[in-house]
Amino acid sequence: MKQKAVLIAPLIAILFLSGCLPTSIIDDVLLVEAEGVDYLGNEKVMGTITMPNYVENPNPGSAGAGLPTTASMLRHLSGVTYDGKSLVDRFQQSGQMPIRVGKIRLMLFNTAMAKKGLYKQIDLRNRDPDSPRDMNFAVVEGSCRKLLTSADYQTQIPVARYIQDMIEQNTEQNYPESTMESFMYAYYGDYMDPFLPIIRKQGDHIAMHGLALFKNDKYVMRLSENRVFTFKMLFQKFNQGVYDYEFAPNKHIAFKNVHTDVNYKVKNGNSAAPDIYASVNVSAQVRQAYPKSLSKASSPVMEKKLNRHMAKQSAQLVRRFQRKGIDPLQLGQHVRSYTRNFDGKSWPERYANARFHCKVDVTIKQTGISE
């Protein structure tokens, strides 16, 4: 009898106490989709959150029980708070339902915020187990609030999903990956600096606008859109990127890369001026060319031109990074992995003097179906 009581008592306790667990029933919470932070100065920020606005399809009969549909929910909230404050907590008081952050897709910072430094925001996100690691970060030229709350977009899709879809499809092409995970990796990792895509509102739509390069947590340099391909080429192997090359004034050739890979080799890693050798292989499929500029016979000539041009651009790019003292390409990591007893302390000074040798080998695989 006593044994049974010992067995049954916890079961009963579980049964009755389980009602006390806080639940987040999916349609009884407001799921934050995007957060935007605009810097106002003096450690004050303007925070904006958006929530999805699911419109029920006008299917007759499906809207039973006379309950309000989600279409009539709150769509966005904004307000002033201090830097590093959890926006979900800040706006909880104005939520008609509990606001939850677990499905957030997008975190936006305006350029002023990014220039001021993101370390409080990074800490906030990194500490919170509810933050999905694959959410996208981005820097906004202009105001995040305007971007997120504008009603004049062409699309009816919630703006957070619009932006995330845009960033994601660009990530599959010219832009390097910029999720929270990759950002945190570069931010917390040694001998590397993070980067984020820049987006901006252009009239009634939103567009990618190059890469924001960070020094630690501060936005210091903008990489224009036509350099992003070169950057990604040096950063990782990828495909489906498109590169436009103006080989003579007003004469363009554009190719899609079928495959690109990059290999690094390092010599004299602990010397004052380490030698970094990058060899890049590009398999290209020509998408567009100036008429009569390219034929089967002339493609080796064009390949050579491209080789020289891209190597030059890469070297320029690295030179600019060295001058700014930032390392978004994670060259320091490559040097470290090639060097026994790597001297990390003196690396920042030696990085500026490092010699970057780049060799690009473009192979034109295809010139299109007609000559």
């Binding site: 389980s18 029933i25 999805p52 029920e56 499906s62 809207a63 029980a65 677990g102 499905k103 999905p132």
Partner: protein, 505 residues
């Protein structure tokens, strides 16, 4: 207590054995279907008794009684020569007399109270014709199934195993019912320990009556508290004979159209006889499909509850809108919604089974279309859940064994409750509970989830996948058969000879 006092009055119970043949006859004479009369011919006077509802009256009138009237029967001993029968039992044993009379024997006594009797077997068995299988249907396999007569059933099996090693042992169990039970096995294959355990469990059984084989399975099972059936029950004689050839033991119960196969493992419950008619890749895929269906059926609705109640983070972003929109008009929590639909499906199934076949179809339509659509339109359940529940009900019915199918259908309820209490952790805990239980479970003392734990690679060849028959050269290791190889392994594995060109080149 109350029942202790009432025990005393019960001394005239039906279980009281008759002291003498006179007592027995007196006891039987009250029945209107008991015939007891004096037979007088020119040469012989004797007393005849039989129960006319269990004997073959036609046989008695046509063959037995004319023979007794014949003048060649001078005394009792002549009966054996004159009456066209294969055996005449001569006995003084009262218990034999009693059971024989009740089984449809024709009793001849020299005098009214004589202890010394002659018994002639002439039982009449009312048995159904051997018909198509109904529970475990097969598309390309055999179509005959067991019926309620033990003789027919043994006949069905024996005609598939025409060897002298095939043994049938008969026992009677049930204090009152004395039901006939046959233990079938192939001598020299079936493991002796298994056989002894089976015999012991059946003889030691304390029971009043055994009505069917599944009832017996529950009584002789290793763990009577378990959710899971521990012995496979089948209505297919081909399945039984296949199992016997593997070295298993089958038990048949008189009056029950199913056979038990002992010992069984959990994977057997998900194999059908049709698997052996299909090519091995197809059969393997279907078995994996069944496995997936079981997992889906058990887990899906509890995952729905867990994800929608606690883990909104896990819902894929593209599904989020669909889920929220379909749930937005539902006034209940996910758990209530799920329980409502699950209970509805169980009601439908139960109603469909209980009703006659023709009405049963209507119930399916009413349940599936009318109630399903109406409940969504009324905003009681969400569209997505309706699909999930219907799918999981469908997946539960994919299990070939009916008893296992019911277990799987009911297994989801603890999962749903656990999901509501603790979310995914609850589902994990519940899963762990079932895994622990299965690990401990045995069938005839052999591990129930055998090819998985303990891991027996040879037995995996015919479990979730079915490898071709030339790789199935060994009998299941699990059974510890006396002869472990089915065939000459050397010959199945023989290399082909050197290829010769078709045309001389």
């Amino acid at each position: 207590m109350f029942w202790k006092n009432s025990k005393k009055k019960n001394d005239q119970g039906p279980a009281q054995p008759s002291k003498s043949i006179a007592d027995l006859l007196v006891q039987l004479e009250t029945n209107p279907d008991f015939n007891h009369f004096c037979h007088k011919s020119k040469t012989l006077t004797c007393w005849i008794s039989y129960i006319n509802t269990v004997v073959d009256l036609e046989y008695i009138h046509r063959d037995l009684l004319p023979a007794l009237y014949s003048e060649r029967v001078q005394c009792m001993k002549d009966i054996a020569q004159v009456v066209p029968i294969d055996k005449l039992i001569e006995t003084r044993d009262l218990s034999v007399i009693q059971t024989s009379l009740l089984d449809g024997y024709f009793m001849i006594q020299p005098s009214k109270r004589s202890q010394h009797v002659y018994l002639i077997p002439c039982p009449k068995k009312q048995a159904r014709q051997v018909a198509d299988t109904e529970v475990e249907t097969s598309i390309v396999g055999a179509h005959d199934s067991f019926v309620e007569s033990l003789e027919t059933n043994i006949n069905l099996v024996r005609s598939r195993i025409p060897i002298p090693q095939f043994k049938v042992e008969e026992q009677r169990i049930g204090k009152l019912s004395r039901t006939r039970i046959s233990i079938l096995y192939i001598e020299g294959l079936a493991n002796k320990a298994n056989l002894n355990t089976t015999r012991q469990r059946i003889t030691d059984l304390e029971t009043v009556s055994v009505i069917n084989a599944n009832m017996l399975a529950l009584m002789i099972g290793d763990n009577s508290q378990s959710f899971f059936p521990q012995f496979f029950d089948t209505e297919r004689p081909d399945r039984v004979s296949g199992a016997l050839y593997e070295g298993k033991i089958a038990v048949l119960v008189d009056g029950s159209p199913s056979a038990l196969i002992l010992p069984s493992t959990v994977v057997e419950f998900f194999a059908t006889i049709d698997d052996y008619s299909l090519t091995w890749p197809v059969a393997s895929l279907y078995r994996l499909l069944r496995l997936f269906a079981v997992a889906f059926s058990v887990i899906s609705s509890s995952l729905y509850v867990a994800a929608l109640t606690y883990h909104y983070q896990l819902v894929p972003k593209d599904l989020l809108a669909t889920l929220i929109v379909s749930r937005s008009s539902v006034p209940y929590d996910p758990i209530i919604e799920v329980l409502l639909l699950e209970v509805m499906i169980e009601l439908l199934r139960e109603a469909g089974v209980r009703l006659p076949t023709k009405v049963g179809q209507t119930i399916g339509i009413v349940g599936g279309i009318v109630i399903g659509t109406a409940s969504v339109q009324a905003g009681v359940t969400s569209n997505i859940l309706l699909i999930i529940i219907a799918m999981s009900a469908l997946a539960a019915f994919i299990t070939p064994n009916y008893r296992m199918a019911t277990t799987i259908r009911l297994m989801r309820f603890p999962f749903i409750l656990a999901a509501q209490m603790f979310g995914l952790i609850g589902v994990g805990l519940c899963f762990m509970f079932f895994v622990c239980h299965l690990l401990k479970l045995t069938s005839l003392g052999r591990p129930f989830i055998e090819p998985i734990y303990p891991m027996r690679v040879t037995d995996l060849k015919d479990s979730f996948i079915r490898l071709p028959s030339n790789m199935q050269g060994q009998r299941p290791l699990f059974l510890r058969t006396a002869d472990k190889n089915r065939v000459n392994l050397h010959r199945t594995m023989q290399k082909k000879g050197k290829a010769k060109p078709d045309i001389d080149e």
